[in-house]
């Protein structure tokens, strides 16, 4: 394992843990932004430049901001008085730990680790664009439709209810 991977993994995991355990919601959101940035860096390490930048643009630039807005709109910016974890948190923790254990065992046991990455291929943005406009044109259109629907849906759901 290269040093850069270990550093990035450590940052990502630490910020993810922080995002899930910190008391203050805004801190959680900021830690989440760091996780996203760390993942983007990992994508860059895996030669997926375009996805990495898209990840930063969408997640750090939009989703994190959206979450921050939601926190402020639901008055989550004050630290909660009661416990931040639900009453039966132990069960959830155990389940999550078990999921990780099972997955880890499976990864350890599989022969996938023997795979060797092919020599670094450079993916140009043009190739991705060509692919999106030909082979994946239908999914692209569907995602466009979905985003439009989500836009309208989000606006309608969050709209102030008319006083009856």
């Amino acid at each position: 394992m290269s040093a850069s991977f270990i550093i990035l993994a450590a940052i990502t995991i630490a910020s993810a843990v922080a995002a899930m355990t910190l008391r203050h919601l805004v801190h959680c959101a900021l830690a989440l932004a760091i996780t996203f940035a760390g993942l983007a860096a990992l994508y860059l390490q895996l030669d997926a430049q375009f996805v990495g930048f898209a990840q930063v643009l969408v997640y750090v630039g939009a989703v994190a901001i959206l979450i921050v807005f939601a926190i402020l709109l639901t008055r989550g910016s004050e630290a909660p008085q009661q416990s931040i974890f639900s009453s039966s948190w132990a069960v959830g923790g155990i389940i999550a730990a078990a999921v990780f254990a099972v997955l880890a065992v499976m990864i350890r046991k599989s022969r996938l680790s023997e795979l060797v990455a092919p020599a670094g291929t450079t993916t140009t943005v043009r190739e991705i664009g060509d692919r999106l406009m030909t082979t994946y044109i239908l999914p692209l259109e569907v995602v466009g439709l979905l985003l439009t629907a989500a836009l309208i849906g989000a606006v309608i759901i969050a709209m102030k209810e008319e006083p009856k």
Binding site: A16, L32, Y43, V63, I67, I128
Partner: protein
């Protein structure tokens, strides 16, 4: 070069953290953040498999992740809008108190 297992372990750990958060936190927004983390873990998986897979020039992993990012953005928008709507109605974002669908 880091072996594939490293990325897979990292991704499954992120997934587990996200799951733990979604299962244990009281606040609905945090649950959503947990789900968001799980999605990202899955994306990392796709990219890793794409990079280590037999023919990376097919770009399948990248395209899938691009679509997944798009869908996740939509999901976050709608999810947060739902939480805001619920907050307006019940004055709380605590998922333990949202149980009017109780059977």
């Amino acid at each position: 070069m880091t072996p594939l297992a490293g990325y897979l372990l990292l991704s499954s750990f992120l997934f587990a953290i996200g799951l733990a958060g979604a299962l244990t936190r009281r606040n609905g927004i945090l649950v959503l953040i947990g789900i968001e983390l799980m999605l990202n873990a899955a994306n990392l998986n796709f990219i890793a498999f794409w990079r280590f897979g037999p023919n990376p020039e097919m770009l399948k992993g990248i395209i899938f992740v691009l679509f997944s990012i798009g869908v996740a953005a939509a999901e976050a928008a709608v999810g947060l809008a739902l939480i805001i709507a619920i907050y307006r109605h019940y004055r709380t974002t605590n998922v333990e108190k949202m149980n009017s669908m109780k059977g």
